[in-house]
Assembly symmetry: C2
Homo-oligomer: 227 residues x 2
Protein backbone atom coordinates (compact mmCIF):
# COMPACT_ATOMS: atom_id res chain seq x y z
CA UNK A 1 0.00 0.00 0.00
CA UNK A 2 1.32 3.37 -1.10
CA UNK A 3 1.00 6.04 1.58
CA UNK A 4 1.32 9.64 0.38
CA UNK A 5 1.88 12.43 2.89
CA UNK A 6 -1.11 13.86 4.66
CA UNK A 7 -2.28 17.20 3.39
CA UNK A 8 -2.50 19.50 6.43
CA UNK A 9 -5.82 20.95 5.28
CA UNK A 10 -7.61 17.60 5.08
CA UNK A 11 -9.12 15.79 8.06
CA UNK A 12 -7.93 12.34 9.04
CA UNK A 13 -11.09 10.90 7.55
CA UNK A 14 -10.54 12.66 4.22
CA UNK A 15 -6.92 11.53 4.25
CA UNK A 16 -7.91 7.92 4.84
CA UNK A 17 -10.53 8.12 2.09
CA UNK A 18 -8.04 9.54 -0.38
CA UNK A 19 -5.29 7.03 0.34
CA UNK A 20 -7.58 4.01 0.26
CA UNK A 21 -9.30 5.20 -2.92
CA UNK A 22 -6.04 5.77 -4.75
CA UNK A 23 -4.71 2.38 -3.76
CA UNK A 24 -7.87 0.65 -4.93
CA UNK A 25 -8.03 2.44 -8.28
CA UNK A 26 -4.35 1.88 -8.98
CA UNK A 27 -4.80 -1.81 -8.14
CA UNK A 28 -2.08 -1.46 -5.54
CA UNK A 29 -4.66 -3.19 -3.36
CA UNK A 30 -5.80 -6.24 -5.30
CA UNK A 31 -9.50 -6.76 -6.03
CA UNK A 32 -10.92 -9.32 -3.63
CA UNK A 33 -8.30 -8.82 -0.95
CA UNK A 34 -9.30 -8.29 2.65
CA UNK A 35 -8.44 -5.02 4.38
CA UNK A 36 -8.95 -4.51 8.10
CA UNK A 37 -9.74 -1.19 9.70
CA UNK A 38 -7.09 -1.64 12.35
CA UNK A 39 -4.52 -2.69 9.74
CA UNK A 40 -5.07 0.43 7.65
CA UNK A 41 -5.29 2.63 10.72
CA UNK A 42 -1.87 1.42 11.85
CA UNK A 43 -0.34 1.98 8.41
CA UNK A 44 -1.71 5.52 8.25
CA UNK A 45 -0.92 6.30 11.88
CA UNK A 46 -4.56 6.91 12.77
CA UNK A 47 -7.19 5.31 14.95
CA UNK A 48 -9.93 3.09 13.58
CA UNK A 49 -12.57 5.84 13.65
CA UNK A 50 -11.59 7.92 10.58
CA UNK A 51 -10.67 4.75 8.66
CA UNK A 52 -14.04 3.25 9.55
CA UNK A 53 -15.83 6.34 8.28
CA UNK A 54 -13.82 6.36 5.06
CA UNK A 55 -14.66 2.71 4.41
CA UNK A 56 -18.32 3.42 5.09
CA UNK A 57 -18.33 6.01 2.34
CA UNK A 58 -16.52 3.70 -0.06
CA UNK A 59 -19.00 0.93 0.69
CA UNK A 60 -21.83 3.15 -0.56
CA UNK A 61 -20.56 2.71 -4.11
CA UNK A 62 -19.86 -0.98 -3.44
CA UNK A 63 -16.17 -0.50 -4.24
CA UNK A 64 -15.57 -2.15 -0.86
CA UNK A 65 -17.81 -4.66 0.85
CA UNK A 66 -18.17 -4.34 4.60
CA UNK A 67 -19.05 -7.68 6.14
CA UNK A 68 -20.13 -6.95 9.72
CA UNK A 69 -18.03 -8.72 12.33
CA UNK A 70 -16.05 -10.39 9.55
CA UNK A 71 -14.03 -7.78 7.76
CA UNK A 72 -13.84 -5.52 4.77
CA UNK A 73 -12.95 -6.67 1.27
CA UNK A 74 -12.08 -4.70 -1.85
CA UNK A 75 -14.68 -5.60 -4.44
CA UNK A 76 -13.82 -7.85 -7.33
CA UNK A 77 -14.10 -6.31 -10.78
CA UNK A 78 -17.84 -6.56 -11.39
CA UNK A 79 -19.14 -6.16 -14.94
CA UNK A 80 -22.61 -5.17 -13.72
CA UNK A 81 -21.28 -2.32 -11.60
CA UNK A 82 -18.94 -1.25 -14.38
CA UNK A 83 -21.91 -1.19 -16.72
CA UNK A 84 -23.80 0.97 -14.24
CA UNK A 85 -20.90 3.34 -13.79
CA UNK A 86 -20.43 3.53 -17.53
CA UNK A 87 -24.14 4.05 -18.13
CA UNK A 88 -24.21 6.85 -15.57
CA UNK A 89 -21.18 8.60 -17.02
CA UNK A 90 -22.28 8.28 -20.62
CA UNK A 91 -25.80 9.41 -19.90
CA UNK A 92 -24.88 12.34 -17.69
CA UNK A 93 -21.84 13.59 -19.56
CA UNK A 94 -23.44 13.30 -22.99
CA UNK A 95 -26.04 15.74 -21.70
CA UNK A 96 -23.34 17.91 -20.14
CA UNK A 97 -21.21 18.34 -23.25
CA UNK A 98 -24.32 19.56 -25.02
CA UNK A 99 -24.98 22.11 -22.30
CA UNK A 100 -21.31 23.08 -22.24
CA UNK A 101 -21.63 24.29 -25.81
CA UNK A 102 -23.88 27.05 -24.55
CA UNK A 103 -22.29 27.66 -21.17
CA UNK A 104 -18.53 27.55 -21.80
CA UNK A 105 -16.83 30.93 -21.48
CA UNK A 106 -13.54 31.87 -23.08
CA UNK A 107 -11.78 31.16 -19.79
CA UNK A 108 -13.40 27.73 -19.65
CA UNK A 109 -12.26 26.92 -23.17
CA UNK A 110 -8.75 27.99 -22.31
CA UNK A 111 -8.72 25.75 -19.27
CA UNK A 112 -9.79 22.79 -21.41
CA UNK A 113 -7.19 23.66 -24.01
CA UNK A 114 -4.47 23.79 -21.38
CA UNK A 115 -5.48 20.38 -20.09
CA UNK A 116 -5.39 18.99 -23.63
CA UNK A 117 -1.88 20.31 -24.16
CA UNK A 118 -0.72 18.43 -21.10
CA UNK A 119 -2.48 15.28 -22.24
CA UNK A 120 -0.71 15.41 -25.57
CA UNK A 121 2.58 16.10 -23.82
CA UNK A 122 2.34 13.16 -21.42
CA UNK A 123 0.89 10.75 -23.98
CA UNK A 124 4.36 9.63 -24.99
CA UNK A 125 6.19 10.53 -21.80
CA UNK A 126 4.25 9.31 -18.80
CA UNK A 127 0.98 7.54 -19.35
CA UNK A 128 0.33 7.31 -15.60
CA UNK A 129 -0.43 11.02 -15.64
CA UNK A 130 -3.05 10.55 -18.34
CA UNK A 131 -5.55 9.10 -15.88
CA UNK A 132 -5.43 12.22 -13.72
CA UNK A 133 -5.59 14.53 -16.72
CA UNK A 134 -8.50 12.56 -18.13
CA UNK A 135 -10.36 12.94 -14.83
CA UNK A 136 -9.55 16.64 -14.80
CA UNK A 137 -10.84 17.10 -18.33
CA UNK A 138 -14.19 15.60 -17.45
CA UNK A 139 -14.38 17.50 -14.18
CA UNK A 140 -13.89 20.81 -15.94
CA UNK A 141 -16.96 20.05 -18.04
CA UNK A 142 -19.00 19.44 -14.89
CA UNK A 143 -17.82 22.72 -13.48
CA UNK A 144 -18.67 24.60 -16.65
CA UNK A 145 -22.23 23.30 -16.32
CA UNK A 146 -22.38 23.97 -12.57
CA UNK A 147 -22.96 20.30 -11.80
CA UNK A 148 -20.28 19.55 -9.23
CA UNK A 149 -22.61 17.60 -6.98
CA UNK A 150 -23.42 15.32 -9.89
CA UNK A 151 -19.69 15.01 -10.44
CA UNK A 152 -19.20 13.73 -6.91
CA UNK A 153 -21.91 11.10 -7.35
CA UNK A 154 -20.69 9.98 -10.76
CA UNK A 155 -17.07 9.91 -9.55
CA UNK A 156 -17.91 7.68 -6.63
CA UNK A 157 -19.49 5.11 -8.93
CA UNK A 158 -16.82 5.56 -11.57
CA UNK A 159 -14.23 3.98 -9.33
CA UNK A 160 -15.37 0.62 -10.70
CA UNK A 161 -14.80 1.97 -14.15
CA UNK A 162 -11.53 3.68 -13.29
CA UNK A 163 -9.98 0.42 -12.18
CA UNK A 164 -10.78 -1.10 -15.55
CA UNK A 165 -9.60 1.99 -17.32
CA UNK A 166 -6.33 1.48 -15.51
CA UNK A 167 -6.11 -2.07 -16.83
CA UNK A 168 -7.01 -0.74 -20.23
CA UNK A 169 -4.08 1.64 -20.20
CA UNK A 170 -1.81 -1.28 -19.56
CA UNK A 171 -3.23 -3.71 -22.07
CA UNK A 172 -4.44 -1.59 -24.96
CA UNK A 173 -1.62 -0.07 -26.95
CA UNK A 174 -3.35 2.17 -29.43
CA UNK A 175 -4.89 4.82 -27.24
CA UNK A 176 -7.20 7.28 -28.86
CA UNK A 177 -8.26 8.93 -25.63
CA UNK A 178 -6.42 12.18 -26.16
CA UNK A 179 -7.57 12.71 -29.72
CA UNK A 180 -11.11 11.91 -28.56
CA UNK A 181 -10.86 14.67 -25.99
CA UNK A 182 -9.70 17.12 -28.61
CA UNK A 183 -12.68 16.25 -30.79
CA UNK A 184 -15.02 16.92 -27.85
CA UNK A 185 -13.23 20.18 -27.15
CA UNK A 186 -13.45 21.29 -30.77
CA UNK A 187 -17.19 20.65 -30.78
CA UNK A 188 -17.73 22.62 -27.58
CA UNK A 189 -15.61 25.48 -28.90
CA UNK A 190 -17.63 25.44 -32.13
CA UNK A 191 -20.80 25.46 -29.99
CA UNK A 192 -22.04 22.39 -31.84
CA UNK A 193 -24.00 20.22 -29.34
CA UNK A 194 -24.75 17.48 -31.87
CA UNK A 195 -21.07 17.06 -32.69
CA UNK A 196 -20.15 17.26 -29.00
CA UNK A 197 -22.51 14.44 -28.06
CA UNK A 198 -21.34 12.36 -31.00
CA UNK A 199 -17.68 12.87 -30.14
CA UNK A 200 -18.30 12.00 -26.52
CA UNK A 201 -20.20 8.83 -27.34
CA UNK A 202 -17.48 7.77 -29.74
CA UNK A 203 -15.01 8.29 -26.90
CA UNK A 204 -16.91 6.19 -24.40
CA UNK A 205 -17.67 3.48 -26.94
CA UNK A 206 -14.02 2.44 -26.94
CA UNK A 207 -14.35 0.76 -23.58
CA UNK A 208 -16.75 -1.75 -25.03
CA UNK A 209 -14.00 -3.05 -27.24
CA UNK A 210 -11.48 -3.20 -24.42
CA UNK A 211 -13.61 -5.37 -22.16
CA UNK A 212 -12.88 -8.60 -24.01
CA UNK A 213 -9.16 -8.09 -23.75
CA UNK A 214 -9.34 -7.13 -20.11
CA UNK A 215 -11.62 -9.95 -19.02
CA UNK A 216 -9.23 -12.51 -20.45
CA UNK A 217 -5.97 -10.98 -19.33
CA UNK A 218 -7.05 -10.24 -15.76
CA UNK A 219 -9.38 -13.14 -15.16
CA UNK A 220 -8.30 -13.57 -11.53
CA UNK A 221 -9.70 -10.17 -10.57
CA UNK A 222 -13.13 -10.60 -12.13
CA UNK A 223 -16.11 -11.76 -10.12
CA UNK A 224 -18.28 -14.72 -11.13
CA UNK A 225 -16.58 -15.52 -14.40
CA UNK A 226 -19.60 -14.79 -16.55
CA UNK A 227 -19.04 -11.95 -18.97
Amino acid sequence: MIVPAKNPSETNREYAFRVISENIISLEIEPGSMIGEQEIATILGLSRTPVHEALLELSKSKIVDILPQKGCSVSMIDSDLIREARFLRITVEAALVEDACELATEADLQELEENLQLQEFYLKKDQSKLLTLDNDFHEIIYRICNKMQCHYMVSLMSMHFDRVRNLSLRSVKDLKIVSDHRAIFDAIKAKDPVAARAAFQKHMARFDLDWNIISQEYKQYISDGKN
Copy 2:
Protein backbone atom coordinates in the same frame (compact mmCIF):
# COMPACT_ATOMS: atom_id res chain seq x y z
CA MET B 1 -39.22 15.25 15.19
CA ILE B 2 -41.21 12.12 14.35
CA VAL B 3 -39.55 8.96 15.60
CA PRO B 4 -40.79 5.71 14.05
CA ALA B 5 -39.98 2.40 15.67
CA LYS B 6 -36.62 0.84 14.94
CA ASN B 7 -36.70 -2.02 12.49
CA PRO B 8 -34.88 -4.93 14.17
CA SER B 9 -33.03 -5.81 10.96
CA GLU B 10 -31.44 -2.39 10.54
CA THR B 11 -28.34 -1.20 12.35
CA ASN B 12 -28.47 1.85 14.61
CA ARG B 13 -26.70 3.82 11.90
CA GLU B 14 -29.26 2.83 9.26
CA TYR B 15 -32.05 3.63 11.68
CA ALA B 16 -30.63 7.08 12.39
CA PHE B 17 -30.18 7.71 8.66
CA ARG B 18 -33.76 6.69 7.92
CA VAL B 19 -35.34 8.77 10.68
CA ILE B 20 -33.32 11.90 9.94
CA SER B 21 -33.92 11.58 6.20
CA GLU B 22 -37.67 11.21 6.61
CA ASN B 23 -37.89 14.17 8.92
CA ILE B 24 -35.91 16.36 6.54
CA ILE B 25 -37.91 15.39 3.46
CA SER B 26 -41.23 15.82 5.24
CA LEU B 27 -40.08 19.23 6.46
CA GLU B 28 -40.74 18.10 10.01
CA ILE B 29 -37.25 19.48 10.54
CA GLU B 30 -37.26 22.97 9.06
CA PRO B 31 -34.69 23.93 6.41
CA GLY B 32 -31.94 25.97 8.00
CA SER B 33 -32.48 24.68 11.52
CA MET B 34 -29.58 23.41 13.58
CA ILE B 35 -29.49 19.79 14.70
CA GLY B 36 -26.91 18.47 17.14
CA GLU B 37 -25.57 14.94 17.15
CA GLN B 38 -26.11 14.59 20.86
CA GLU B 39 -29.62 16.01 20.61
CA ILE B 40 -30.67 13.48 17.94
CA ALA B 41 -28.83 10.66 19.68
CA THR B 42 -30.80 11.32 22.86
CA ILE B 43 -34.12 11.44 20.99
CA LEU B 44 -33.38 8.15 19.23
CA GLY B 45 -31.91 6.50 22.31
CA LEU B 46 -28.52 5.98 20.71
CA SER B 47 -24.99 7.24 21.19
CA ARG B 48 -23.47 9.92 19.01
CA THR B 49 -21.53 7.45 16.87
CA PRO B 50 -24.29 6.04 14.63
CA VAL B 51 -25.91 9.48 14.41
CA HIS B 52 -22.57 11.00 13.44
CA GLU B 53 -22.12 8.43 10.67
CA ALA B 54 -25.67 8.99 9.38
CA LEU B 55 -25.11 12.76 9.23
CA LEU B 56 -21.82 12.19 7.42
CA GLU B 57 -23.64 10.30 4.69
CA LEU B 58 -26.34 12.96 4.45
CA SER B 59 -23.70 15.67 4.18
CA LYS B 60 -22.34 14.03 1.03
CA SER B 61 -25.43 15.15 -0.86
CA LYS B 62 -25.30 18.52 0.92
CA ILE B 63 -28.77 17.95 2.40
CA VAL B 64 -27.13 18.72 5.73
CA ASP B 65 -24.11 20.93 6.28
CA ILE B 66 -21.62 19.80 8.90
CA LEU B 67 -19.75 22.77 10.33
CA PRO B 68 -16.81 21.34 12.28
CA GLN B 69 -16.83 22.32 15.96
CA LYS B 70 -19.95 24.40 15.35
CA GLY B 71 -22.84 22.14 14.57
CA CYS B 72 -24.91 20.58 11.87
CA SER B 73 -27.61 22.42 9.96
CA VAL B 74 -30.31 21.16 7.63
CA SER B 75 -29.70 22.84 4.30
CA MET B 76 -31.93 25.61 3.09
CA ILE B 77 -33.87 24.93 -0.09
CA ASP B 78 -31.24 25.58 -2.75
CA SER B 79 -32.33 26.09 -6.32
CA ASP B 80 -28.92 25.13 -7.70
CA LEU B 81 -28.94 21.78 -5.91
CA ILE B 82 -32.56 21.19 -6.90
CA ARG B 83 -31.58 21.87 -10.49
CA GLU B 84 -28.75 19.38 -10.19
CA ALA B 85 -30.99 16.75 -8.67
CA ARG B 86 -33.61 17.38 -11.29
CA PHE B 87 -31.05 17.28 -14.09
CA LEU B 88 -29.67 14.00 -12.81
CA ARG B 89 -33.08 12.39 -12.49
CA ILE B 90 -34.34 13.60 -15.85
CA THR B 91 -31.18 12.60 -17.66
CA VAL B 92 -30.82 9.18 -16.08
CA GLU B 93 -34.46 8.17 -15.99
CA ALA B 94 -35.22 9.36 -19.50
CA ALA B 95 -32.55 6.90 -20.63
CA LEU B 96 -33.94 4.22 -18.31
CA VAL B 97 -37.53 4.35 -19.52
CA GLU B 98 -36.20 3.82 -23.03
CA ASP B 99 -34.24 0.78 -21.92
CA ALA B 100 -37.21 -0.48 -19.90
CA CYS B 101 -39.19 -0.83 -23.12
CA GLU B 102 -36.83 -3.61 -24.11
CA LEU B 103 -36.12 -5.09 -20.70
CA ALA B 104 -39.48 -5.14 -18.92
CA THR B 105 -40.90 -8.63 -18.42
CA GLU B 106 -44.55 -9.47 -17.90
CA ALA B 107 -43.93 -9.66 -14.16
CA ASP B 108 -42.29 -6.22 -14.23
CA LEU B 109 -45.26 -4.72 -16.07
CA GLN B 110 -47.62 -6.26 -13.56
CA GLU B 111 -45.66 -4.74 -10.68
CA LEU B 112 -45.87 -1.31 -12.29
CA GLU B 113 -49.56 -1.77 -12.94
CA GLU B 114 -50.15 -2.71 -9.32
CA ASN B 115 -48.33 0.39 -8.15
CA LEU B 116 -50.41 2.53 -10.49
CA GLN B 117 -53.63 1.09 -9.12
CA LEU B 118 -52.59 2.13 -5.63
CA GLN B 119 -51.63 5.59 -6.83
CA GLU B 120 -55.04 6.08 -8.38
CA PHE B 121 -56.66 4.74 -5.23
CA TYR B 122 -54.82 7.06 -2.86
CA LEU B 123 -55.01 10.09 -5.13
CA LYS B 124 -58.31 11.13 -3.57
CA LYS B 125 -57.94 9.39 -0.23
CA ASP B 126 -54.49 10.06 1.20
CA GLN B 127 -52.06 12.15 -0.78
CA SER B 128 -49.30 11.60 1.77
CA LYS B 129 -49.00 8.05 0.43
CA LEU B 130 -48.49 9.32 -3.09
CA LEU B 131 -44.93 10.39 -2.38
CA THR B 132 -43.94 6.86 -1.37
CA LEU B 133 -45.79 5.31 -4.30
CA ASP B 134 -44.16 7.76 -6.67
CA ASN B 135 -40.75 6.83 -5.32
CA ASP B 136 -41.64 3.15 -5.66
CA PHE B 137 -42.76 3.60 -9.27
CA HIS B 138 -39.46 5.14 -10.26
CA GLU B 139 -37.48 2.58 -8.28
CA ILE B 140 -39.18 -0.29 -10.10
CA ILE B 141 -37.93 1.16 -13.37
CA TYR B 142 -34.37 1.22 -12.03
CA ARG B 143 -34.74 -2.39 -10.98
CA ILE B 144 -36.08 -3.43 -14.37
CA CYS B 145 -32.95 -1.96 -15.95
CA ASN B 146 -30.64 -3.44 -13.31
CA LYS B 147 -29.42 -0.01 -12.22
CA MET B 148 -29.99 -0.07 -8.48
CA GLN B 149 -26.64 1.49 -7.69
CA CYS B 150 -27.56 4.43 -9.90
CA HIS B 151 -30.84 4.56 -8.03
CA TYR B 152 -29.03 4.96 -4.74
CA MET B 153 -26.92 7.82 -6.09
CA VAL B 154 -29.85 9.60 -7.72
CA SER B 155 -32.00 9.09 -4.61
CA LEU B 156 -29.43 10.68 -2.36
CA MET B 157 -29.35 13.82 -4.49
CA SER B 158 -33.09 13.77 -5.03
CA MET B 159 -33.69 14.59 -1.39
CA HIS B 160 -33.35 18.25 -2.36
CA PHE B 161 -35.96 17.69 -5.00
CA ASP B 162 -38.18 15.56 -2.77
CA ARG B 163 -38.51 18.37 -0.24
CA VAL B 164 -39.77 20.67 -2.97
CA ARG B 165 -42.00 17.97 -4.32
CA ASN B 166 -43.48 17.79 -0.86
CA LEU B 167 -44.16 21.53 -0.91
CA SER B 168 -45.60 21.08 -4.35
CA LEU B 169 -48.08 18.51 -3.09
CA ARG B 170 -49.28 21.05 -0.57
CA SER B 171 -49.47 24.05 -2.81
CA VAL B 172 -50.39 22.70 -6.22
CA LYS B 173 -53.91 21.42 -6.37
CA ASP B 174 -54.22 19.97 -9.81
CA LEU B 175 -51.87 17.05 -9.70
CA LYS B 176 -51.21 15.22 -12.91
CA ILE B 177 -48.56 12.97 -11.47
CA VAL B 178 -50.60 9.79 -11.50
CA SER B 179 -51.86 10.18 -15.05
CA ASP B 180 -48.29 10.97 -16.09
CA HIS B 181 -47.15 7.70 -14.61
CA ARG B 182 -49.83 5.82 -16.47
CA ALA B 183 -48.69 7.39 -19.74
CA ILE B 184 -45.12 6.27 -19.02
CA PHE B 185 -46.37 2.80 -18.16
CA ASP B 186 -48.44 2.56 -21.34
CA ALA B 187 -45.43 3.48 -23.44
CA ILE B 188 -43.23 0.88 -21.74
CA LYS B 189 -45.91 -1.76 -22.15
CA ALA B 190 -46.23 -0.83 -25.82
CA LYS B 191 -42.42 -1.07 -26.08
CA ASP B 192 -42.30 2.42 -27.54
CA PRO B 193 -39.11 4.11 -26.30
CA VAL B 194 -39.82 7.39 -28.07
CA ALA B 195 -43.21 7.71 -26.40
CA ALA B 196 -41.75 6.61 -23.07
CA ARG B 197 -39.10 9.33 -23.10
CA ALA B 198 -41.62 11.91 -24.18
CA ALA B 199 -44.08 10.94 -21.46
CA PHE B 200 -41.34 11.00 -18.85
CA GLN B 201 -40.07 14.41 -19.89
CA LYS B 202 -43.59 15.78 -19.86
CA HIS B 203 -43.90 14.42 -16.33
CA MET B 204 -40.73 16.06 -15.07
CA ALA B 205 -41.45 19.32 -16.85
CA ARG B 206 -44.27 20.05 -14.40
CA PHE B 207 -41.84 20.94 -11.65
CA ASP B 208 -40.61 23.89 -13.67
CA LEU B 209 -44.02 25.45 -13.38
CA ASP B 210 -44.31 24.72 -9.69
CA TRP B 211 -41.13 26.52 -8.74
CA ASN B 212 -42.58 30.01 -9.00
CA ILE B 213 -45.43 29.14 -6.68
CA ILE B 214 -43.16 27.42 -4.20
CA SER B 215 -40.51 30.11 -4.11
CA GLN B 216 -43.07 32.72 -3.18
CA GLU B 217 -45.10 30.73 -0.73
CA TYR B 218 -42.17 29.32 1.23
CA LYS B 219 -39.72 32.17 0.92
CA GLN B 220 -38.38 31.71 4.45
CA TYR B 221 -36.95 28.28 3.58
CA ILE B 222 -35.12 29.31 0.45
CA SER B 223 -31.42 30.18 0.48
CA ASP B 224 -30.07 33.46 -0.86
CA GLY B 225 -33.27 34.86 -2.23
CA LYS B 226 -32.21 34.81 -5.84
CA ASN B 227 -34.32 32.42 -7.82
